[in-house]
Amino acid sequence: MSVRERNRVRESGVAGARPMVFAHGFGCDQSMWRFVAPEFEADHRVVLFDHVGAGGSDLSAYDPDRYGSLRGYAADVVEICRELGLADAVFVGHSVSAMIGVLAAQQAPDAIGALVMVGPSPRYVDDEGYAGGFSRADVAALLESLDSNHLGWSAAMAPVIMGNPDRPELAAELTNSFCRTDPEIARRFARVTFLSDNRADLPGVAVPTLVLQCSEDTIAPEVVGRYVHEHVPGSVFTQLAATGHCPNLSAPEETTAAIRAFLGAR
């Protein structure tokens, strides 16, 4: 299984132009970038991919040890960059992928030349002298409640659904398809996402970085975005009017404009 197939890598845009790699966060898959990525195809080489365990990635490549920390996901990003021969790429990471980008840039400084962090958080769980927005109990409740929504698509049912395309009543079960995956993998990814602590990695970021902060984002509150901005040397902080955690979907124009402004200023 090649890296391209493993991570369902999709390329578009201008072959020789500066690469932009879009990485989705916890929840769905590369379709999260459907309103943003095309905006850059005119003057960039656009690369989209799914993290292993999400969307159209190869689920059989999921190794609980490798993906037991964000380093495993970052290693995948580096492998994609190597496979595609990327240099000086703009890595646009949403949510948890912002930190995956930080780790990937550590591992392959030549491949990644700029970071765009959309709704980043280096640590969700509060700590002494640090407000991540979630208490331990919150995260425990969150991890538990995520299980509730994974009940509908048990691992046992998946083959039935996937194997009967001619039965529309089963296809209806696929309604929430963009965000579906093996519940066990989803559970593990949630743990890695919400239990990681990458605060110590921030001061080492050596590439131009943009922090895009949404309004009223309960997952990555403004105080956390500010924290990232203050700890990544020379980073740019842009406050969006967009609310929630997914400006790439809810406010693609504003998001695109902010990224363009950041890249144009370079």
Partner: protein, 761 residues
């Protein structure tokens, strides 16, 4: 005409008609499900009464807020990461399970369906959602999840047991058993670290000799495997593990890091607390009544995962009952395997020991002497039994010049220096000296730097000894017939680990074998030395000068050890210029032969006093042989030579004939070989003739002409050929050449050689 169906408008009661004609707004407000509408970013713009009643909030306090604000934390995250993106991407979501938080703080489990209303360009305008109360459905799901979780946990436990059982089945050493137990049990209960101590096979009965002779019990437990625990914790925990009395009741004990632990093991409690650890779990490793050891797990903040630990500090030190039972099971399984593995290891060791002792017996039996025995012993012991071997043999000066060997070739230099310079200066207190003095085994366990400093003769000695990295030292005396012949000193390196009692037993058996071999070799060499000394004393000094003759004598002892011969020669000037010559060979190669030779020569000389002819002399010797009580027979040639006339008379008592070398030619004198001395007497025929001027008469013993695989005639032919080639050489040179040519390194017998040249002029 058929009647209209029931429920048709014509049939309906007016009251029902009134309700059905009711305002749709009334239906919206009081529908049996919640309705709300929100802007695309989730802000509520319309909400029905049913939903407000469920929430326990008036509509005015709800409108304008974002929908996720009504949810619990899990719901908020799910809304942001799944529901909102899905709505945007596919326009609708179905049956999303969310907990709405009511005004009183209680959760209301709901299922939410939502659609996104878009304008003609596809831009989102509004979100419409229906909310269904799902308390019982969610309760059922929760029960299902809980059951699933319990089943998964129980399955994980039984999987752990299965893994452990199959991995233990493949284990062939105690270390492997320990590693399986430590890693699996640590993983199973999420412990931050685990370690296994086993009761040492030495037990408490074995004691270490301290400097002042006070024995103390050695630590009763040994660390066999550990994971996730730093060395300083392990050192502190060893004390705790040694107090394994705690687990003798066979139950798993959880010891919280509290005042009690601090009182007993303050160092350990301090380190664990500082690292966020909360309790120790002690798991007995025992089978039936045998307490083999204790598995200790540390519970608390995990040190080696990158993920944040969600458990609140203070709640990590408790194990569920099921986990305690799991650990107890693993402990029992490991113990049963340990018993099997130890039996197996013992059998293998026993076979190896027997083979080793058998081989050592074979090798030692072939060692020709004391020094060789010591060398072979050292070669044998390193590295099979030990990493260091020193063999000391006692001499009249005590222990000197030991043989020293080490398994590591890189240490050959220092070890040689040890043997040559430092060991000869050992003092009392050194285990070797102690073993020598007391004649019993001395076992030094756990060689420490302090101990080395005490026994070292100087700093360099201590430096070398330290570099050897010794774990244990063992000094075993070599005792035979109650005499201490030396000491076998063995050392193990840290990687090999300490000696086991079985090793000590092997060393003692080996020492017994060696002592017997040494004893035999020493007696043999003593006897050989004595015979040579005796023989050298019995042989006459260099012959006196005789006018008219050049006389040369040679005596070569046999090549090996105690094979001393009874060969002799004698040159005695008689009156009137006559010279009596004799060469003889007493049967046997030992001290008795040498003694008989000495006696024979004395009697021979006594008989020469009245100058009997050689034939008469032989007759007298034969006649008196039995009176002399000599225990061995002998062959001999007796001759008399008048230098002036060259008159030569020779008689033989079963001895090889003399050779005459003259004018580039050598021949045997045809002397009749009469009976040997010691055989029944018979008249001997005397040969009489003239030795020409310039000719050389050569008398010799059979060592010169006998060699393995060559018969006597061939040997004589070689002698004649060699002598002919040396014709013209003087007596001395002839002797040297013959010995060089005929008596090579493989000589098996002594050689006596007597050459007399009749000088011209």
């Amino acid at each position: 005409m058929a009647p209209p169906p029931a429920g048709s408008p014509a049939d309906r009661p007016p009251e029902l008609d009134r309700l059905l004609d009711d305002d749709p707004a009334e239906l919206y407000e009081n529908a049996p499900c919640g309705y709300f509408s929100a802007t695309p970013d989730g802000r509520l713009v319309k909400v029905n009464r049913t939903f407000c009643e469920w929430l326990g909030r008036p509509a005015a306090t709800v409108l304008g807020r974002r929908f996720p604000e009504l949810l619990g934390v899990g719901g908020q995250v799910f809304y942001e990461t799944h529901m909102a993106p899905l709505l945007r991407m596919q326009g609708a979501v179905r049956e999303v399970a969310l907990d709405v938080v009511r005004a009183d703080g209680t959760p209301l489990p709901c299922l939410v369906n939502a659609v996104e209303v878009r304008d003609r360009s596809g831009a989102p305008v509004l979100v419409r959602a229906t909310v269904f109360e799902a308390t019982s459905r969610r309760r059922y799901e929760r029960a299902l999840l809980d059951a699933q979780r319990v089943a998964a946990e129980s399955e994980a436990r039984s999987r752990t047991v299965q893994h452990v059982v199959s991995e233990l089945a493949a284990a062939t050493s105690a270390r492997q058993v320990a590693e399986v137990l430590v890693s699996r049990s640590r993983e199973a209960v999420g412990a931050s670290g685990a370690a296994l101590w086993l009761a040492g096979e030495r037990g408490e009965a074995v004691r270490r000799e301290e400097e002042h002779g006070e024995p103390r019990p050695v630590p009763a437990v040994e660390l066999v495997a550990s994971a996730g625990l730093p060395a300083d914790w392990l050192a502190e925990m060893a004390g705790a593990a040694a107090g394994a009395e705690l687990v003798r009741d066979g139950a798993v004990h959880t010891v919280r890091l509290g005042a009690g632990l601090r009182a007993v093991w303050p160092g350990l409690a301090e380190r664990l607390t500082a690292a966020g650890q909360e309790s120790l779990v002690l798991v007995p490793v025992g089978a039936d009544t045998a307490h083999l050891g204790v598995l200790v797990l540390v519970l608390g903040a995990a040190g080696d995962t990158e993920l944040v630990d969600l458990t609140e500090p203070g709640t990590r030190g408790e194990l569920p009952r099921a986990d305690e039972e799991l650990l107890a099971t693993l402990g029992r399984q490991a113990a049963q395997t340990l018993v099997r593995v130890r039996l197996h290891e013992e059998t293998v060791r026993h076979a190896a020991r027997s083979a080793f002792l058998l081989e050592s017996a074979r090798l030692l039996a072939q060692a020709p002497g004391v020094a060789e025995s010591a060398e072979r012993l050292a070669d044998l012991v390193v590295p099979r039994l030990a990493d260091l071997c020193v063999v000391d043999l006692t001499t009249e000066h005590g222990l000197t010049r030991p043989v020293a060997r080490h398994a590591d070739p890189a240490l050959a230099g220092p070890v040689a220096e040890l043997g040559e310079r430092h060991l000869p200066r050992r003092r009392g207190g050194h285990p070797t000296a102690e073993a020598l003095r007391w004649g019993r085994t001395v076992w030094v366990r756990e060689v420490t730097d302090d101990w080395l400093a005490r026994i070292a003769t100087d700093d360099r000695h201590r430096e070398i000894a330290g570099a050897l990295g010794l774990a244990d030292l063992l000094a075993v005396p070599l005792v035979a017939d109650g005499r201490v012949l030396g000491v076998l000193t063995l050392g193990t390196g840290r990687s090999r680990g300490p000696f086991r009692p079985a090793d000590v037993e092997v060393a003692e058996q080996l020492a017994l074998q060696v002592a017997q071999t040494l004893d035999r070799a020493q007696r043999f060499e003593l006897e050989a030395g004595t015979s040579h000394t005796l023989q050298a004393n019995l042989l006459p000094p260099a012959p006196p000068p005789v006018p008219g003759l050049a006389v040369a004598v040679r005596y070569l002892a046999a090549g090996r050890g105690a094979d001393v011969g009874g060969d002799f020669y004698d040159v005695v000037p008689l009156s009137e210029g006559e010279v009596a010559l004799a060469v003889g060979d007493v049967v046997g190669h030992d001290i008795t032969a040498a003694a008989v030779m000495g006696q024979l020569r004395s009697v021979y000389r006594a008989h020469l006093a009245d100058r009997p002819a050689p034939g008469a002399l032989l007759q007298r010797l034969q006649a008196g042989w039995s009176l002399l009580g000599l225990q061995r027979m002998a062959t001999a040639l007796f001759a008399s030579l008048e230098p002036g006339s060259g008159r030569l008379r020779v008689v033989s008592a079963g001895h090889p004939p003399p050779v005459v070398v003259t004018g580039g030619h050598a021949e045997l004198l045809p002397v009749h070989p009469g009976r040997m001395l010691g055989a029944p007497a018979a008249r001997a025929e005397e040969w009489s003739g003239v030795l020409p001027l310039g000719a050389t008469l050569l008398l010799y013993t059979d060592g010169l002409v006998e060699r393995r695989g060559v018969d006597l005639d061939a040997g004589l032919a070689l002698l004649l050929a060699a002598a002919a080639r040396s014709a013209g050489a003087g007596a001395d040179e002839l002797c040297d050449r013959l010995l060089a040519e005929l008596a090579g390194g493989q000589r098996q017998d002594d050689v006596a050689l007597l050459a007399v040249t009749r000088l011209t002029g």
